[in-house]
């Protein structure tokens, strides 16, 4: 069953809601080891996304995600803007012209997004960044799809792996970003970027796990 642009719109809208809800929490995580603006910046960014995707909701998935990326690059600032912006720009480029996205396509798009994040931020695994949540999650999704799992199942496993990766940042010493200035004092705190990345994949998994429209009556 292919993923539709409408489902991706649903993902972005719900994720914007999660970010707004978790704004203070993310900002608090960032205040502990960074400069205390991650939630504020991401919220400003996704509120902008909600406005900018308005005219492209019925276009192809690539256009939708590229529009999202440009909105983030132009509104978030900080490190989050270029990183999340690049993630969506690259994922969108991978889905250029596609309105029905196969599970393989979606996993390839997520992979392309992650590759962009790594190139832009130059972070390695275990540097205590968003890469620690995204990498195991996207690898897991890819493996599940190759085993023949549905995209909903694959993303559900990916969200679990992202959560494990996010929690795994707690004992790490930060080697990138402002948190690295703290050295050992960064140990014991969960990375805010890994946290917002986990929310992103969890929200996608929730959207894809739901019964497709039209089948609702059978289950109620």
């Amino acid at each position: 069953m292919a993923v539709t642009t409408a489902q991706l719109v649903d993902w972005l809208e719900r994720y914007a809601g999660v970010i707004a809800e978790q704004k203070q929490y993310l900002t608090g995580l960032d205040a502990a080891i960074g400069d205390g603006d991650h939630g504020i910046n991401m919220d400003r960014g996704f509120q902008t996304v909600l406005v900018k995707i308005g005219p492209v909701k019925d276009k192809d998935a690539g256009t939708l995600l590229k529009t999202t990326g440009m909105a983030l690059v132009g509104s978030v600032g900080g490190a989050g803007g270029p990183l999340y912006g690049t993630f969506f720009l690259r994922a969108g480029a991978a889905l250029d012209g596609k309105s029905d996205v196969s599970r393989e396509d979606l996993v390839s798009a997520l992979e392309a997004g992650l590759k962009g994040v790594v190139e832009r931020g130059k972070a390695n695994l275990n540097d205590k960044t968003m890469v620690d949540a995204l990498t195991p999650a996207i690898e897991r999704a890819k493996a599940r799809v190759q085993e023949g799992a549905s995209i909903g199942e694959a993303l559900s496993s990916a969200a679990e792996a992202a959560e494990t990766g996010m929690r795994g940042t707690i004992p790490l010493k930060a080697l990138k970003g402002r948190a690295s200035y703290l050295g050992d004092r960064s140990i014991g705190h969960q990375d805010p970027g890994a946290t917002s990345s986990y929310y992103m994949l969890r929200t996608l998994s929730e959207v894809l796990a739901e019964v497709p429209q039209g089948a609702n009556t059978a289950t109620s």
């Binding site: 960074g34 205390g36 603006d37 504020i40 690059v73 600032g77 803007g81 200035y181 703290l182």
Partner: protein, 342 residues
């Protein structure tokens, strides 16, 4: 309608946290319309007579909340444009791309970037955009903060006080006709010869966050603070100004190291919430230490030039001078925040 509750709860002279940057930009445009013009969305402060044909354009930017840096340094003999981000948040690539285009007089544009992960990434994306449109863009990164260990295991030293001195000196050189390569080389040399270290007595409140960035007891200070309230080297009991100044200055001197016979600019900077009289108390102790070490403070800058909102505290920056850098430090400058020789 202003959110009176938020504004008054914070006890800040703002209308709303969201409107603060634009309200302040409009104020700058009103007060300094003879020197600068302001564009919005994307927000850019541009030298009034830019682009200057045949002159290298100098563009900097960073989070707001460090005023007068960078917008206060736009004008004759310093920056051609500045890009203000949200408070303590790096500006976005569309701002720097617009600034680059607005000041490109055909001789190329030099970006002055402070070494913060977000600033570097946003300026890199902007440079890619500008180059895509045919502009020649170089970048110099300032990283003078000795409080941070410079190693493979950190994002590297932060850019702080030297940024102000570099913008003045390289701005003077660009005004004098340096080409892009020579201006870039000079900028790198200024950064390599400068070192800084700061300290904080109190924290600060980012309006959008609504609470202090870090907690600090009444009898404590943070040594090695960054300009966004990032923690530094150590938290200690408060000491007398002379002792604090000696810690900062000696750490800076030993780091380069500055040697007997060197001539320097001694820059005693306020963090935003410290009165000038206290900065002169610090300057007195800095001077005594330098004299003892045989280092000559040939030029001074004392005041709040790179700040962290209302944070109380100071930083000490030293920059080793030679004939060329001295000449461009002394060259005429006319900006909202620095003016001499005109």
């Amino acid at each position: 309608m202003a959110d009176v509750t938020t504004a008054t709860r914070l006890k800040k002279l703002i209308n709303t946290p969201e409107s603060e940057v634009k309200d302040a930009l409009a104020g700058m445009a009103a007060a300094h319309g003879d020197l600068i013009r302001v564009e919005y969305d994307p927000n850019v402060i541009i030298r009034k007579d830019a682009p200057k044909k045949g002159k290298v354009g100098l563009v900097s930017g960073g989070g707001s909340g460090h005023e007068p840096m960078h917008g206060g340094y736009v004008g004759l003999g310093m920056l051609d444009a500045a890009c203000p981000g949200a408070v303590f948040t790096s500006p976005t690539p569309d701002q720097m791309a617009r600034a680059t285009k607005a000041v490109d007089g055909g001789a190329g544009v030099l970006h002055v970037v402070k070494n913060y992960t977000g600033d570097i990434m946003n300026f890199e994306m902007a440079a890619e955009l500008a180059r895509g449109e045919g502009a020649r863009v170089n970048a110099v990164i300032t990283n003078d903060d000795v409080a941070v260990q410079d190693s493979l295991y950190t994002a590297g030293r932060r850019g702080v006080g030297v940024t102000v001195l570099l913008e003045k000196i390289v701005g003077g050189a660009a005004e004098a006709g340096y080409d892009l390569e020579k201006a870039t080389e000079l900028a790198k040399r200024v950064n390599a010869n400068g070192r800084s270290m700061g300290m904080a007595l109190t924290s600060c409140i980012v309006p959008a966050a609504g609470k202090v960035t870090f907690e600090i007891a009444d009898d404590e200070m943070e040594l090695g603070i960054g300009i966004h309230g990032e923690p530094g080297r150590e938290r200690t009991k408060l000491k007398a100004a002379d002792e604090i100044a000696e810690i900062l200055t000696s750490t800076v001197v030993k780091d380069l190291p500055y040697k007997r016979g060197d001539e320097v600019i001694a820059f005693v900077n306020g963090m935003g919430g410290t009165p000038l009289i206290e900065l002169y108390v610090v300057a007195n102790a800095v001077n005594r230490y330098l004299q003892k070490e045989g280092i000559k403070p040939a030029r001074w800058l004392v005041g709040s030039y790179i700040t962290s909102l209302e944070m109380a505290g100071c930083s000490v920056t030293l920059l080793k001078l030679d004939a060329e850098t001295t000449k461009f430090w002394d060259a005429p400058v006319h900006t909202p925040a620095l003016r001499w020789g005109v």
